[in-house]
Amino acid sequence: MVIAETCRQALKDMGINPDRLALEWVSAAEAPRFTELITGFVSKIKSLGPLGSGDGEGGKDIVQGYLMDGVKAASARKVRIALGKLAKNTHKSGNYDTQTISTRVAKEVLPAFQQERVSQQKKAKEAREEAYKILEVLPRRCAKHLSNGPCGGSVGGRCEADPKMPCIWQKIYERLISLKQEQLLREIMPMRDWRVADRSRRHRREREESAL
């Protein structure tokens, strides 16, 4: 009960319609009821639309981002202690009144969740920013000017062009892992525009010569 209510409020906090979570009691004998509930729930979700696209939901990507932090917040000790304590007290008092639980969750558990989520969000944002910086700056140091990962020639973390040099992509990978942002590597970087990028003297001379 406490968990369900927390979950509902957490969803709301993340801009997700809490109606997307159903908690029903169906006894083993109530097969017809089960059928009705599932049928009803499916059509309700249909009317809400895909996750993130419902009324008041901020779009798929945003919601996904919130959820990423939310899952982390849900594992955080602070949130879980608050939740556990409330569950314990509710159990002791025997007061399972929905209104009471709802108020208490809002007062005792949700703030911790919000705080944790925001701090996760911040952490994630910082990590992401740093990761983007890494991806922006470090590849320039690649001997082969690769922008989408190592060439395949590196051996033991050393560059193919100069075995004395470390492979910069190995470094990038390790740092992204430590920031838990390795998924960014999956993103394909746009092709480099060599017309503007390459200003080496030899090329310029060739171009000038060929223009003659």
Binding site: A29, E30, R80, H91
Partner: protein, 947 residues
Amino acid sequence: MVEAGRSPNIEIITNAQLKALDGKAGQFVAQVHQKPRYIDEDICTGCGTCTMYCPRPTVDIYNERLDITRCPHIDYPQAVPAAHYIDAEACLRLNYETCNLCSQTCMAHAINFDQKPRDLSLDVGSVVLAPGFGRIDPSVLERFGYGRFPDVVTSLEFERLSCASGPTEGHIVRISDERPPKKIAFLQCVGSRDETCGNGYCSSVCCMYAIKEASLAKEHDPDLEITLFFIDIRTHGKGFDASRERAEAKYELRIVRARPRLNGQVDGQLVLKWATEDGESHSGLFDMVVLSVGLNAPEDAKEIAEVTGIGLNRYGFCQTSPVLPLAASRDGVYVAGAFQGPKDVPESVTQASGAAAMASELLPEARDTRTVSISYPEEDTDLEAGGPRIGVFVCHCGTNIAGVVDVEAVRDYAATLPDVVYSEAPMYACSQDSLKGIAEKIKEYRLNRIVVAACSPRTHEPLFQETLKSVGLNPALFEMANIRNQCSWVHAQTPEAATEKAKDLVRMAVAKARLLEPLEQPSVNVTPVALVIGGGAAGMTAALSIADQGFDCVLLEKTDRLGGNLRRLTWTIDGRRASEVLNDLIDRVNRHPRIQVFLNAQLEKLSGFVGNFVSTIKIGGQDQLVNHGVIIIATGGREYRPTKFYQYGKDKRVMTQLELEGALARGTDILRHIDTVVMIQCVGSRGQDLSYCSRLCCSQAVKNAIKLKELKPGIRIFCLYRDVRTFGFAEDIYREARKRGVIFIRYEPERRPELIKNGQGLRVRVFERILGKDLDIPTDLLVLSVGVAPGDNESLARIIKAPLTEEGFFLEAHAKLRPVELAVEGIYLCGLAHWPKPLGESIAQAKAAAAKAAIPLARGKVAVTPIVSRVDKDLCIGCGICESLCPFNAIHLVKVNKRRKAETITASCKGCGICAAHCPVLAISMGGFTDNEIMAQIHAFAGKEEA
């Protein structure tokens, strides 16, 4: 069936007949004659090559002669033993010494034409007769056009036609032109309730099976028009009325109350003529007529009776009495199933367990002297410890799954999943040869995680786990994907979506399987005491049976004396004085040294689990603790109080059937001024306060009507009813009542009889449909037939944490397979707490519950489920949240190195996982349902790329 085949203590002798039975109860010698199968069942793999090569077609008897098979064959894939046999009458080799093809092609060399009949002499303590039922004589069927018109079929033939693995693969076709019929008529009571063919009894099961067959046919072809012709609609089983009403509405079944006759054929269609109750005659054309044939006594009933020395009743069924429903007339010979009287599957299974109890009652001294136990090979820990090597088995389940889901596609898909090294799609994964196959594949491919995509783990997980154990794998290394109950069956209209869902479910199961870990299989000792709750007929019978089987028993009764509802009964259905039965039971209970009776006692609290329950019992205000291993619930029901109806409680001349019995028992003087009696059936039942039919009130009313007629022959009795449900042999007393002049008038629920007070007189107004008008019956006495209401089951259900049905009765674990067990292990059920039923059925059920309850008592040990919580003490911070939340007191704090740490009490833990879900530091994990396993399932749900 498979379970019986696997038990080392059950020897199955097929093709056998009992020739003689000498000796006495406890020391019988049975002479058994066994005819050869010509195929060695221990060697045969059931592969079916012999059937393929046999050149000699023979009629397929199993498929009601609607198909052909070959001499060597197996009746159906799940048959036990899962071995073929040779039809000795048709075989060319056996009759003409030619051919011999099959034995050449059999790779297993299982075919042996040198097998000879053999005679066995078996020492047995008791004999249980379960020969089933026989067929209605063809001459009876001929009266309904059977044999003359090919499209008149029996319900048994129809059943085969609608069976997915039957001769037409489930397509219902006319026999004459093999075209699907458009209009089908079901004729009820063929060979039942018909004295002209010698079967005066009601076969009990045909009304419900006709509804079932009609529903299945409609499911298959929604355009079918189906008409069912009933005399009375006797769907009196547990929950039957409700499912009949649902079926009638959902499938638009047309119900006609008439007994039609076949009037020839017009343009290939069959002509039926009938007269309805208002006297009008009708006729109709049908493409197919299904005869709902009744259940006859077995063909060899006489022979069985002669050999075993038991008595038969006038219809050739085994003679028993309502008080001893499972005992044949010779000591030590018991009966179960349809041979005792026509009955459905749940009741037959119940009786079978009951008969086992009777046999076990003879056994206490000899118990365990000749039993064999299975031993499993040691666990192959090396194999288990290696990286996951998953085998996936995707079951066809005949056409149950394969008819909707593309099983091959799912199998191929499974093969692409990570760590899956083998995948296969067996026809029936649970059949004995498939299980053998799984075991072989485990060895061949060194599989160490098994996924079966089939039916529900609730029913079949143990069976497959057994197979894992048999080859040295820990049973926890097993996962099921439920692609039948929760997929093919419920998404029949959308096969593509169902196939996609099946793939998803398999992917999720594989994802979990990759992370499964072996779990310890602990077992605990059983306290060899049974607690029986309820001191009525059922409770006392169960207690006596347990005690006779050699175990101690505590019997609780909440009032100050034993007897329950039996106290209020005056006569049993066969005319015995109920008080004799009652006194005999009470006397035996009180004298039995192994039974301890607590009066004024109620269960207050229950803790523990199967084998080790601890109950707090309140006896006259004092709490007492009782340790016991099992519980039998026999808390009974109560007579419904019809205070809303017919001035009951206000006018002394209005009473219930039980009150009438009670009054007559006190003296028959009251009859002096009574010349007319009106009885009204179903007062408060079947859709009023009680939604259901109570199964016994019709027989009770008829019984009392006859009693009244005996006491005062001139008395006029009117019985107003909806359906007369005197099923089984009770039909005899219904006919008897009619013969004695009791007048039966049917009413519809929309137009119930009314009570009209006319000065001092009572009048009952009822619509009489032959006359087509209201009939006013002045009466001296109005007797209301009321049903059985559930007792105070709710509070008990809360204490033992067991579910109730919508109607308020206890819900058994499975209606057909486990009819006297609750879902909670170690708790059993009998009597009116289960469902309203007559005395004989309660007694049989009490015996059955006693048999089931005796199993853990006799074994002395029960395995504890390994799905329990485990605390990682290094992570635990001793906050105590888990301890306070656990509903089973199965986790507590202990001091470890001066720090508080949580610890699970494994034997009490039910594996609910509340502790794990609330642990702030994620220190608790659940066996078989760890965080990682569930997370893996969620991720696998996400999509293919993350699989």
